[in-house]
Symmetry: C2
Subunit: 350 residues, 2 copies
């Protein structure tokens, strides 16, 4: 079968190649790939800056934002041919840390997890793939066109769960949320904020393209005149930071209302040194009981919460997030950034 592969560490090695057909082991589903989403991590891997091939192999099949249709399912798995499924990205090490042993592999302590399409396990950017039934999440059949958004939504569902758990350490009834960055994570964070009944504001730099309309059609407010302008109308109770831009990260930390929460989701490069009033930041965090936390990856609970969130969303709105669809044959084109779009997907149906 055909799949999108890279040689990790080798820039420009991404190619659509023939690879052996996957063979399901006991407990595995055999799945026909429908689509994979492309994100910054895939582009980092294609640039040779990240990613690990399976032990003893040269190539890594990439793709971790999956969507497929079950072709074969083991008896007793609760899944059946025709089911729409997404495969989970991360797997705990066979000798798990305490978090992984408790199903919280998104909070892995020792870093010895593996990840489909990223770290030592083949990804989902192939015409067919296998996945352990225990690591497959069934989607509402109506989500066939947009279910490829489940993995980024799972990251956002985790972020919101963390916001609620950390906020819930005392009395917590947030009203407003500011999302910085209107990429896929930011827009999905805005969606889940609206689903929670919050007043949602989204900040981005662009003034045209699809982003302003997507925000407005959620019933949220779009801001493009910078951070200070976005918080001028009132300090948010929650900030979801989805750009990773160092000055925005620091501004977000200090901008929330008392007992504010800032959730960091954007992965930034090291070495972005900036000068900052660290004394003032500390003072306001202490005197206001503010919290700032990073959130990455997702465990099975978050995938299931994300499936519910997508099932409850407007499907046309979700479809508009998929601004570029590239067939597998031209999949290397999908690895080019698309700054005006939101989410690029590679379609796998043959």
């Amino acid at each position: 079968m055909r799949a999108l592969t890279v040689i990790p560490g080798s820039p420009g090695s991404a190619a659509v190649r023939d690879v052996p057909d996957p063979v399901p082991g006991p407990g595995d589903l055999l799945v026909d790939g429908l689509a994979v989403g492309v994100c910054g991590t895939d582009r980092e891997i294609a640039a040779g800056e990240y990613g690990w091939a399976p032990p003893g192999q040269e190539h890594l099949v990439i793709g971790h934002e999956s969507l497929g249709r079950v072709q074969e399912a083991p008896q007793g798995s609760g899944l059946a041919p025709g089911d729409l499924v997404v495969g989970v990205v991360r797997r705990p090490d066979p000798v798990p840390c305490g978090a992984c042993a408790h199903g919280a592999f998104d909070m892995c302590r020792n870093g010895r997890y593996t990840e489909r399409g990223i770290k030592e396990l083949p990804g989902y950017a192939g015409e067919r793939w296998c996945v352990e039934a225990d690591y497959a999440v069934r989607l509402d059949p109506a989500l066939a066109d947009v279910g490829v958004l489940l993995e980024p939504t799972s990251v956002v569902a985790k972020a919101w769960q963390q916001i609620e758990l950390i906020g819930g350490r005392s009395w917590f009834e947030p009203r407003t949320v500011l999302v910085t960055g209107a990429g896929p994570i930011g827009l999905l964070a805005a969606l889940l904020g609206v689903q929670r009944g919050l007043e949602v504001h989204v900040l981005d730099r662009v003034t045209d393209g699809v982003k302003p309309g997507l925000v407005r059609d959620l019933g949220a407010t779009y801001h493009s005149n910078g951070f200070d302008d976005a918080v001028a109308a009132g300090r948010p109770d929650v900030v979801v930071e989805a750009t990773g831009a160092a000055p925005l990260v620091m501004a977000a930390m200090g901008a929330t209302s008392p007992y504010g929460l800032t959730c960091l989701t954007g992965v930034s490069p090291r070495g972005r040194r900036i000068e900052w009033d660290a004394g003032g930041l500390n003072r306001s965090m202490v005197l206001e009981n503010d919290a700032v936390f990073g959130s990455v990856n997702a465990n099975l609970d978050h995938y299931r919460a994300a499936a519910d969130a997508l099932a409850g969303a407007d499907r046309d709105w979700l479809d508009r997030l998929l601004t570029r669809r590239v067939p597998l044959a031209s999949a290397t084109d999908a690895l080019r950034p698309d700054p005006d779009g939101v989410k690029t997907v590679i379609t796998l149906e043959t």
Copy 2:
């Protein structure tokens, strides 16, 4: 009676003066003062930089780290003459915010709380004082000499409660804690860390005086060669930052192990600008699911937890924290900083 008063906003106005005897209202205890502790907030108030007198009055009786013995108690209060009590500092506004309405006045959202000895309510640095029975915490009678440590301990008990609640959002079994700063808050944070069975490290600058011995006698490890040296043996799972020094605050945020927690408790001045790798800090916080939060003040639950913590501690060790005892007649002397000591108390017994 005699009390230590200031004219808020007027540096150098601290004086021991005659003030009217307090008159208990319905539900109030009348208490003979035993001692009040002095902290940085008192020194800020004495310097004219903080503090508000009761409405319509010129003077504020200061003192919020209280200890007294009940002289009169209302029927049905559960308290009796002779009981050792501490008065709580903060009171919610009569029109409370949501947090205050739920007893979480330490997390007040609108800032309209009042505070004994700080903000619009007379403090406890007088020979006698009144306190609502509902805002008095009874102490183990054996704590008569050291119970004045209850208020700073309540701040630390809240910090540890927050660490456990935020850590408990997923699997959490911390092993090591680093406390930065061996002042009263830092040493009490170390005590509560040891009580939790953790491996405790304490960082301070001094190499002599009482602090190294106090840390060692807890069974903890004292470090005085800087932050990098203190974490060289291993990244801590939890940092309790108790200096407010901007570079330490920023270093602490990025120093924890994966899923690390940094609790900020030190109040720093604004305007301490430093250059920092904000990109690297954000990256490690996101990829490691780290959390940083500020913690200030305490509610009734935290006072009770603190009373339990003090009752379970070695009383000689607690007594060694009280490095200077100044009689009320010379109370203005107690407002001078004592950099080599730990806690200065004003004794009130006549």
